[in-house]
C-alpha cells in the first residue's frame, strides 16, 4: 500500500515535470501563440510585457513551483480556445470519453468471452479458425478506417445511426463497435489459449473424474484459472484503449477528452495539453493499481511482489 502511494507520488511528479517541460521546450513561443490569437501584429514590447506578466522571466525552478502549486489546486489556467478554465473544459469532455471507454470495455469483454470461449470449446474447428481470422483482421484494421466504413454503411447509406456526435445514446453505438473490434483481438487470443491450457490441468481433469458437470467445471475451475493472464494484459493494454479512444473521438466527432486534446495541440493551447497529460497519466496509474489488486483477489498465491508489473 505504502509502496503504491510512493510510486504514485513519484509518477505524479514526473508527470508534472513533463507537463511543465511541454511549455518550456515546445518549438515556437507560447507567448507568441497566445498573442497571435488576434492575428494583429505584435510588438516585441508587448511580448516582453506579457512574458513578465506571466512570470516567464522568473527562474525555471520558481516557475515550476508555481505550476505545481496550480496543479495541486486543480488550476491549469484558462483555455486559449474558449477562455474558460481548463478544468471546466476537461470536466465537460470527460464524461464522453468515460462513456466511450466504458461501453467499449463492456463490449470488448462480451466479444472476448463469446469468441474466446467458442474458439476454445471447439478447438481446431471451423469456428476456431473463423475466430482466428477475426482476430487477425481486427488487429490489422485501422480503427479510424473501420469507423469511416461503419459511418458510411450505417449512417450515410442505411440512415440507422447518427454519423457523429453523441447527442443521443445511439451515437455511442458505432464508435463503441469500432473501438471494441480494435481492442478485443489480443484478449480473445489469450483467453482462448489459456482456456485450452487450463482444461488440460490436473485439477480440471480431477473435477471431471469426480463427475462435476461441464458448466460447473468451466465457470468454477477453467475460467477462473484463465482470468489471470487476461487481467494482466487488461492492465497493459488499457493504454491502447485510451489511445484508440482519441482516434475514435476524432473520427466520430465525439466531444471527449481525446478530441479536446487534439484540438488543443493544433491550437497550441498549452494549459489543456498539460492537464490532459497529467490527468490521463494519473488515471492510467490508478487503474493499473486496481488491476494489480484484482490480480491478488483472483489468485491469492500471487504475492504483492509477484504482481509487480508496470
Amino acid at each position: 500500500m505504502i509502496r503504491w502511494l510512493l510510486q504514485g507520488l513519484g509518477f505524479f511528479f514526473v508527470l508534472t515535470i513533463i507537463g511543465f517541460l511541454i511549455v518550456q521546450l515546445a518549438p515556437g513561443d507560447a507567448v507568441l501563440s497566445m498573442l497571435k490569437v488576434d492575428t494583429v501584429a505584435v510588438t516585441d514590447a508587448e511580448i516582453e510585457a506579457l512574458r513578465e506578466n506571466l512570470g516567464l522571466n522568473d527562474p525555471a525552478l520558481q516557475q515550476y513551483g508555481r505550476f505545481l502549486g496550480g496543479v495541486l489546486r486543480g488550476d491549469f489556467g484558462n483555455s486559449l480556445m474558449t477562455g474558460k478554465p481548463v478544468m471546466t473544459e476537461l470536466a465537460k469532455a470527460f464524461p464522453y470519453t468515460l462513456m466511450l471507454a466504458g461501453a467499449t470495455m463492456v463490449l470488448a469483454v462480451v466479444i472476448t468471452f463469446v469468441l474466446g470461449g467458442l474458439a476454445a470449446r471447439f478447438q481446431g474447428s471451423l469456428i476456431d479458425k473463423a475466430v482466428g481470422v477475426f482476430c487477425t483482421a481486427g488487429a490489422a484494421l485501422p480503427t479510424f478506417w473501420f469507423g469511416l466504413l461503419l459511418i458510411d454503411m450505417f449512417a450515410v447509406r442505411l440512415h440507422l445511426l447518427p454519423s457523429s456526435g453523441m447527442a443521443t445514446p445511439a451515437g455511442l453505438v458505432l464508435p463503441t463497435v469500432a473501438l471494441a473490434v480494435a481492442i478485443a483481438p489480443p484478449y480473445i487470443k489469450i483467453l482462448r489459449n489459456s482456456l485450452i491450457e487450463a482444461s488440460g490441468r490436473e485439477f480440471v481433469r480431477a473435477a471431471r473424474a469426480r463427475g462435476v458437470s461441464e458448466p460447473v467445471i468451466f465457470f468454477k475451475h477453467t475460467l477462473r484459472d484463465s482470468l489471470i493472464p487476461l487481467v494482466t494484459i487488461l492492465g497493459v493494454s488499457l493504454g491502447s484503449l485510451l489511445g484508440g479512444a482519441v482516434i475514435v473521438e476524432v473520427t466520430f466527432g465525439i466531444p471527449g477528452v481525446g478530441k479536446l486534446a487534439v484540438e488543443a495541440l493544433a491550437r497550441r493551447d498549452y494549459g489543456v495539453i498539460q492537464a490532459f497529460v497529467i490527468i490521463v497519466g494519473m488515471a492510467i496509474f490508478v487503474i493499473n493499481m486496481l488491476v494489480d489488486l484484482s490480480y491478488r483477489l483472483l489468485d491469492p498465491s500471487i504475492s504483492l511482489k509477484g504482481a509487480e508489473r508496470v
Binding site: F11, V14, I18, I22, A26, P27, G28, T136, A137, A139, A140, L141, P142, T143, F144, W145, L148, L149, D152, V156, P186, K189, I190, P229, T232, I233, V236, S237, L238, G239, S240, L242, G243, G244, V246, I247, V250, T251, A261, V262, L265, A266, I273, F276, V277, V280, G281, I284, F285, N288, V310
Partner: protein, 276 residues
Amino acid sequence: MSKRKTTIGVVAVLVLLALLMMGPLLAPQDPELVNLAARLQSPSVAHLLGTDNLGRDILSRILTGAQVTVGLSLLALSLSILIGVPLGLISGWVGGRFDWIVMRIVDVFIALPDYIVAIVLSGLLGPGFVNMLIAILAVKWVGYTRLVRSLVLQEKTRDYLMISKLAGGSNLRILRQHMIPHIVGPVLALATMDIGKVILLVASLSFIGMGVQPPSPEWGAMLNDGRAYFAQAAQLMIIPGIAIFIVVAAASWLGDQLMKRYTISSEDERMTSALA
C-alpha cells in the same frame, strides 16, 4: 501450416514490402498531377483505381504513398531498434545505477500509452516527416530496451558465461559471441510484430492531421483528405484503407511466424503482443 507454406508466405510478404518500397517507380502517373476535368472518376483503363477530388490518379498516389507510410514506419522502427537494443544490452549487462536510471525512464514511457505520447509529441513538434519519426521513436525504443534487458539478465546467469568470463573473455567479446546470437531472434520477431502497429500509428496520426501533410500521398492523410467525397466516390474511402489493412495484416502474420520460430517465453510474448 506446413513448413514450406510458411516459407512461401514469408517470401511473399518480404516481396510485397520490397515492391512497396519501389512504389514511386511503379506509379503509372504523377501522383500530384491535378486534373480537375477528371475529378472523382470511377476506376477505368486510364485510372485503374479511379481519381480523387482533384483528379489525381489514386493508384499512383497509393504506390507513391507506400514509401511514405511504410518507409517512414520501417525507418522509425530501425531507429528504435538501433537505440533500444544497445541501451537494453548495456543496462542488463552493467546493471547497478545505470540500469536503475534506464529502467525508471522505461517505466514512465510504458506507463503512458503509445498513441497518447505520439499524438502529444507530434502535435507539439508540428506536422512533418522528421517530427513524426521522432514521435514514433519516442514510443517504440522502450519495448526493445525492455526485451533485450530481460534476455541479457536471463543469459547472464548461465554457466557458460561464467566460464567464458573466467577464461578471460572481454566484455565486448562475450557480448558479441554469446549475447547477440540470443538477442537477434526475439528482437527480429518483436520488430516484425511492430511493423504493422507502427504503420497503423503513422496512418492514424496523419488521419487526425498530425502526421505527414497533404499533398503528400500518405495513406492515412489520403483518407482524411477524401472524407468529404466518400459518398460520391467510394474508391477514395476504400482503396487507402485496404492498402493499410493488407500491409498491416501481412506484416503481423510475418511477425507471428517469427514469434513461433523464436519462442520467446510466454511472458515476453504476452508483453510484446500487448504493447499495442
